[in-house]
Symmetry: D3
Subunit: 245 residues, 6 copies
């Protein structure tokens, strides 16, 4: 079976990670997985939420949102509706949890980093692109904070790297990194978040039509682990280049 | 290692499924997994949401909530705060998705069934108890609807059964059906939703402290599949008894 | 005239008061007036609202709510609508006022007790059942607080007991403790809250169809005072039994 | 005991009822009970709320609100806080119920009348002034609707008149029509709404400090019934004058 | 061309400024521009918003609102809708900005003055009437604060006076102080806020139908400046009279 | 006086207008005025708001928003706060009004076009950049709608072009197109929206510190009209290029 864009089942879309996109944020990345484009900014502020004060530990959190016309038909703004939808809540929490998995709160000191992931254009995999891009923005913000003595710890607060990819079973074939047209036709849909050493931070598999069995689950995990490894390389390459501010 | 309540690692807490709890609802179950108690009611109404009208297909959805003092310290009511929190949204969506996985919308006709899962007392595993109990309430509501000719299809709208259980790694030991004290100490926490034939409807694994590897994932899935099989038996036993209305 | 459930006009429904229902709350009662069932929990916290700080006096407040399917047709959740309705506000305020009528704030010290009254099943008289049950939960919470030295006053902060009942005129006959079917047909509907010594804490009489005259008012008050006296006895019996925690 | 403004215990404050205050509304009254001033407007629209359509019956409802600086210290606007408080809800519902007690829905036809009661200046008794004034605005709006053939029934939709007054026990003395300074010091506070023939539409008595007994209740009711009779006369006098539009 | 009320194009409607309208507020004015009536109250409180603390400077802000039936057809209350509309926000901000233009924050000390402008009846020009009346209420509140030593500065915190008027082009003719019927027919609509010495605090001109050219703009500004001068005189006359409290 | 970026007082920042930015929207433009970058998308839907149905006329509206870290310090999301701020409301309304000034509703037919203007990076002049870019996105969306027969009128619905620019007086010097650092120091700040033939759609001038006189107003208008003429040329150049979809 050939995919709509000619990829093989185990092939990622073209991935770009553009650092230093914003002149204001301590870290900022425009990440694209094919036509999915997410602007990730990392904002550092001194202090932590009230329930964490006095612990000497920092905090990392995330907010995900879609521009109204990021999708094929325009969606109402959540600010206009006056409430945040369940999907937005769910993805924001997922991104925050994923990044906190590679943070040593003690080394961060009592500082907070907020990752804003705003989807400028959507074509499937927005949450996985957001996590992959947000990690790079977070790394830049931490480096900035250390350079500017906001973070004074001698040890790096990042304990590893994190990336994410979607996998799914479409017409019986397991596929990596689904586009929107593939995603809506998938029987099973899974998002996998891995550390750079190939362990799991989060695995979320959902049967959209048919329940899936253990063999299918294993095939999807194999695809995802390989995809995350490629994304880890792309993150490292991006971070190795010189960032001009 | 012995668990706080003396269970073995692969042992469920005592499970009770009390049908016909409410005199008003078409289906109602008070389910308990140990000290976790969730009241699940199924409400049937004619008609479907606007986006589904004219399709001849029905709809099943769920709303999860906790009473303010279901937990050890009182939480603010979401009605008082004027907004639903991310966790509530996330669990409501999970319950709805899980139940829809065993529904044949066509057989349901243009009817809607809402499952309300209200946690009266919480001690870990509220979402898995909710899914397990809600399935039974849903089955009762569907039977009621067929008896009362609201659903006229000759075929059963339920295409299978669904149950759910939590698993996690605590102090290096994989455990089934975590209590609250175990849950807060777990390195990895996973919720697994299975059909009665042992396939997966949803797998959600999260590294709370350390990322987990493939071997740990496999051990947790083994535990969960066995736990769901026991819960499936408990659901069948409950549904086989006579329901007095 | 015989009532739908065979009671005489001046007869209460069967009343049960089950203490220690929740393992978390400092006081908890599942109260039932016939098929009306309300879970009342009392939560004690140190400190008082901002406007009361530094006075040395405590505070008691209440929140009333109905589960969506407590009634015959499902009601939308107030958390989903994003706002609390007028009826809920009104009843929450009534319960709080009624309980505060028997509290000596000074003896309470700067502690707050919140009474959550959640209607699990409704069949008329939910607010009066809530007040009657909440009083018992409050008494237990105060005893717990004194045992645990959270409240250090030598004198009992409770200055009396409080119970409540509904009365109404249905087809010309004054009736005690209306069920839902009676309530909707009542010309006049009154809720009366009494102290244990038979005085009034609150009297709320409303003409639903015809205005009522002084004679009718007096007959209703007689019925209600007698009903509250019976409820006071039921509260005392419940509180005299041993509470196992 | 002499009252702060020199009144006898059974004396109302000066009452004025100014009709035709607004050039836009179908009925409008600026009512004052002493320094308490409430602007009551009645707005007539064709049609009824959805749940009442097709019944051939009309609807009357009310909304109460206070300007931010109607009171001695400024209160936040409920529009700014984004939610209506419990007290506002409670009073709006009371006003609506009181007026509906003298409405024959059938004669109204499928029309809706909304009474807006906005407190411009508060000095106790705002809800009773609102009811007393709103009745006159309602009568004017109904007359306007009959003159303009919006209401076509041959019979008057108003089945009676309604007025309201507060009573309370201050320092042991029962008083009629409390000012703010009296209200805050009252042991018992009661609002009584009567029809023009002296029957009760609503009786709401609350023990603010000490519970009250049957004798006190009777004394307060006597005071209130006499006060409402005076207010009924004032309403009639106002309505008998010629209204210039 | 003659105007609906017989005025010449450059003529204001009758303007009245009634000081001391409210017994509670530190400054209060009922201002009318013809049938447009706005109640403006000024409330003084010690302290400033958080972002201004410790600066030694005060703050002045405004909130504008319309009663539901101030207009020809009833509008929903913003408190009931749970949100403030764009028009309300815009006008509140305009009033606040206009008044702050004549305030010396240093002389005010760390005090806040809130101007509430509630439209009791609307007939065009509500925002300009509000500004013109609010200035007088503000002046009274400042005098009260100086008399009562809340403001201790030796110099007057008011650095000038401010008034406002609307102008517009209706059927090709530039008109001063539009009534509602003129406003809805205007091609161009402009609000001009001037200081007493004829300079501009704010100029907001909007093409409702046809874009306007520089000549039209100049004619409108001429009209507005002359109108504001008259309003300045009316304000001075009002403030020169003795205020009885 | 030289400006921070070396411009002369009457010089615009570099302006870029990138059409076809989004693959989903009927019109989309990434506009930049120096470091201010706004993504403008135009979404066409059949049908109009309820109050306009059956008129045969279309509707154009706009929503403005800022990404949380578009500015130097992160702002809370309005969706998280649950309400839209006054500034956002004000600017959204301004953009909508400005674009409607060049629309012939009849030629549009009963179609609605929503312009979403999301500020990705802010450095002063976001509302004027938004209007200038949104006009181009609107033109593209109208062309798309005519090509796709959604709009069937033979005449162009656009009756002209519209662009906008800010001007202000900084340290006594009138400047065109203020950057953020200039904007915060400006005594007077004005936004001017012009049609392509140099007439005014909207003029909004505000005295931030000192009131401004007629001479200053005239100088600012001269600057703005010249700036808008340059922007009109930039819009035409952009629209003359071939748009690849």
């Amino acid at each position: 079976m050939s995919r709509i864009d000619g990829r093989t089942p185990e092939q990622l879309r073209p991935v770009t990670i553009e650092r230093g996109w914003s002149k204001h944020a301590e870290g900022s990345v425009l990440v694209s997985f094919g036509d999915t484009k997410v602007l990730c900014t990392a904002s550092v502020t001194e202090g932590v939420p009230r329930w964490r004060k006095g612990t000497g530990e920092g905090w990392v959190t995330a907010e995900y949102s879609m521009l109204p016309r990021a999708t094929n038909t325009r969606g109402d703004r959540e600010s206009v509706r006056g409430r945040i939808g369940g999907r937005t809540h769910e993805i924001s929490r997922l991104i925050g949890r994923s990044l906190r998995a590679v943070i040593d709160y003690k080394q961060l000191g009592e500082n907070t980093i907020v990752l804003d992931c705003d989807v400028l254009q959507a074509d499937g995999g927005t949450r996985t692109a957001a996590i992959t891009g947000a990690y790079v923005a977070l790394a830049d913000a931490i480096n900035w904070s250390r350079d500017n003595k906001l973070i004074r710890a001698s040890r790096q607060p990042l304990t590893g790297t994190v990336s994410a990819v979607s996998v799914g079973i479409v017409d019986g074939t397991p596929l990596l990194d689904l586009r929107y047209e593939e995603d809506v036709r998938a029987d099973t849909d899974m998002n996998v978040i891995c550390t750079g050493d190939g362990r799991f931070v989060e695995v979320q598999g959902t049967a959209e039509a048919q329940p899936f069995d253990r063999t299918e689950l294993n095939t999807l995990l194999d695809l995802a682990v390989a995809g995350c490894a490629e994304l880890t390389t792309a993150q490292r390459t991006a971070l190795d280049s010189v960032l001009e501010r």
